[in-house]
């Protein structure tokens, strides 16, 4: 055990040295990323293995940190039932925006994904649904042509197969590098949501960290039912932009899931632990295939 702590200390020393060698004095303790998790909300340090055992939820303040789309699938979808749609769609550089190609290549390496959303169908306690999961590890989940196209196709597939859609948003907003084309993805996806809505089908929007900008101002806010994970960021404008406008610091709870619940823009806040059950039960409450008394609630 002593060795373990020593190794952390060594890493910390090392990190501090490497920081100061860049000429910038940093009095804050640098964190060895693979051993400790530092909560961005409450700043509490937790051992990584405990944090991971807790489904990447801060043990101190219940902040639900970001998951990769793969982790989310493992948590929500019955094992072996996920069939991915359009996995080979990938971004072009329509504006010839400087360094965009490089950014995409890097993001592919960092995230292991081709763009910022994974779509497909899978079963949730045996109930088949279309699943859309945004990938915050890919350019902060920003929405460009690929994200817009995959989400629109997923909703269109759901209409064709008469399926519900469960969407996990995680995005900083529109992808600036695709300019006006990225803005138009807000319209394109919202139109697809609208068609799915007109077909009388259920759309559950689950907001996860962060749900902001163009995604909040389009499909994420348009669910029949909107669920949020605890303590996450939800908002339209960036915090710093607002602080710049009003010239004051905003309170910590501004633009959190709890703030949005209080102001009436979220139906409920659900812990990660109960997410799959909750989604299943809501799907079941909308499933009349066995008559009105067909399903049984899952109280697992």
């Amino acid at each position: 055990m002593d060795d373990f702590f020593n190794s952390i200390k060594l890493r910390i020393d090392y990190d501090n040295k490497s920081k100061s060698s860049k000429g910038k004095k940093n009095r804050k303790m640098a964190i060895p990323r693979d051993l400790l998790f530092k909560c961005p909300r409450c700043q509490q340090l937790t051992f990584m293995d405990e944090f991971e055992k807790n489904q990447k939820v801060c043990l101190e303040c219940n902040y639900h940190s970001r998951l990769s789309s793969k982790e989310r699938i493992n948590m929500i979808i019955d094992e072996g039932t996920f069939i991915e749609y359009d996995e080979y769609l990938s971004s072009k550089n329509p504006l010839n925006f400087p360094d965009y190609d490089k950014k995409i290549e890097q993001a592919k390496i960092v995230s292991g994904e081709n763009d910022a959303v994974k779509t497909g169908e899978g079963k949730i306690f045996s109930k088949l649904s279309v699943i859309i999961i945004m990938e915050s590890n890919f350019m902060m989940g920003s929405m460009g042509s690929v994200v817009g196209e995959k989400i629109s196709r997923a909703f269109e597939n759901a209409i064709e197969k008469k399926l519900s859609v469960v969407l996990f948003s995680a995005s900083g907003g529109a992808r600036m590098q695709e300019g006006i084309i990225s803005l138009m993805q807000m319209a394109k996806t919202s139109a697809a949501v609208s068609k799915h809505n007109d077909a009388g089908l259920l759309y559950i929007s689950v907001m996860t960290d962060p749900t902001t900008g163009g995604v909040t101002a389009s499909f994420a806010s348009l669910g029949d039912i909107i669920i949020a994970e605890p303590k996450i960021l939800i908002g339209f404008a960036g915090r710093r932009v607002i602080e710049g406008t009003i010239k004051q610091k905003l309170p910590d709870d501004f633009q959190t899931a709890e703030f949005m619940l209080e102001h009436g823009f979220v139906d409920m806040i659900v812990d990660r632990e109960n997410m799959k059950n909750t989604i299943y039960n809501i799907l079941d409450l909308h499933d009349f295939s066995n008559g009105r008394d067909g399903g049984k609630l899952n109280n697992e």
């Binding site: 006006i180 138009m184 949501v193 101002a217 339209f236 932009v241 102001h263």
Partner: protein
Amino acid sequence: MNDVSSWSKINIIREKDRPTIKDYIHLIFDMYYEFHGDRYFGDDLAITGGIAKLDGMPVTIISNVKGKNIEENKQSNFGMAHPEGYRKALRLAKQAEKFKRPIICFIDTPGAFCGVEAEQRGQGEAIARNIMSFFNLKTPIISVVLGEGGSGGALALGVCDRLAMLENTVYSVISPRGCATILWKDSSKEKKAADIMKITAEDLISFKIADDIIKESSGGAHKDPEETAYNLKEYLNKTISELLEKDIETLLINRYNKFRKIGEFFEDKSSL
């Protein structure tokens, strides 16, 4: 497009006496009755809306409002609407649908307002609701960019059957200044950002996002607002007649497809 022209266009639309909706409305329409309020919270003067006649035909007008001086801009918040502005727009749009009036939206905004109260009242939800609902309105919709179209705040009035832009206008996802701040952490490089972002009317035509360009008077709309208004009126008359010829089903399918087609990407495995 060469570098000079996109920046010089921005300078034209930033001219102090650039005509706004308040100048155009009486030059284009007869008998404008402005209606107020979203019926939930309040009235946002960053957006004006109401009914008027266009050469004898009743139409619904919805427009961003920009001021020309501090006093006017205080009232209209520099064209940056709060959620109640977008909700007023939607209320009037649905009223237009009920009474089978074509809708004409005029876009002239740097973007939706970024503030505490705007967040509390659901800025994101208000914009999203407009975007989705405009796809279902069973009446023709024309949107015209009069000055600048900025981000989601513009798109909230921008889901339409035809999108036209005045000759010198721009429409973008983020302001050139905002883009420069993100890219180079230097807002003074907005000129460079403006070129990179491809935001002019010609650019948007090339992306098949804008459908038409409407001529301004020579040197910019401020040189001769009446001439520009005349061109706007001609365009609106012609376009409304074209759209009214289509049955509503076709109109809605075309509206869906107009936006559905926007986007550029690689499709197959080999491109990775």
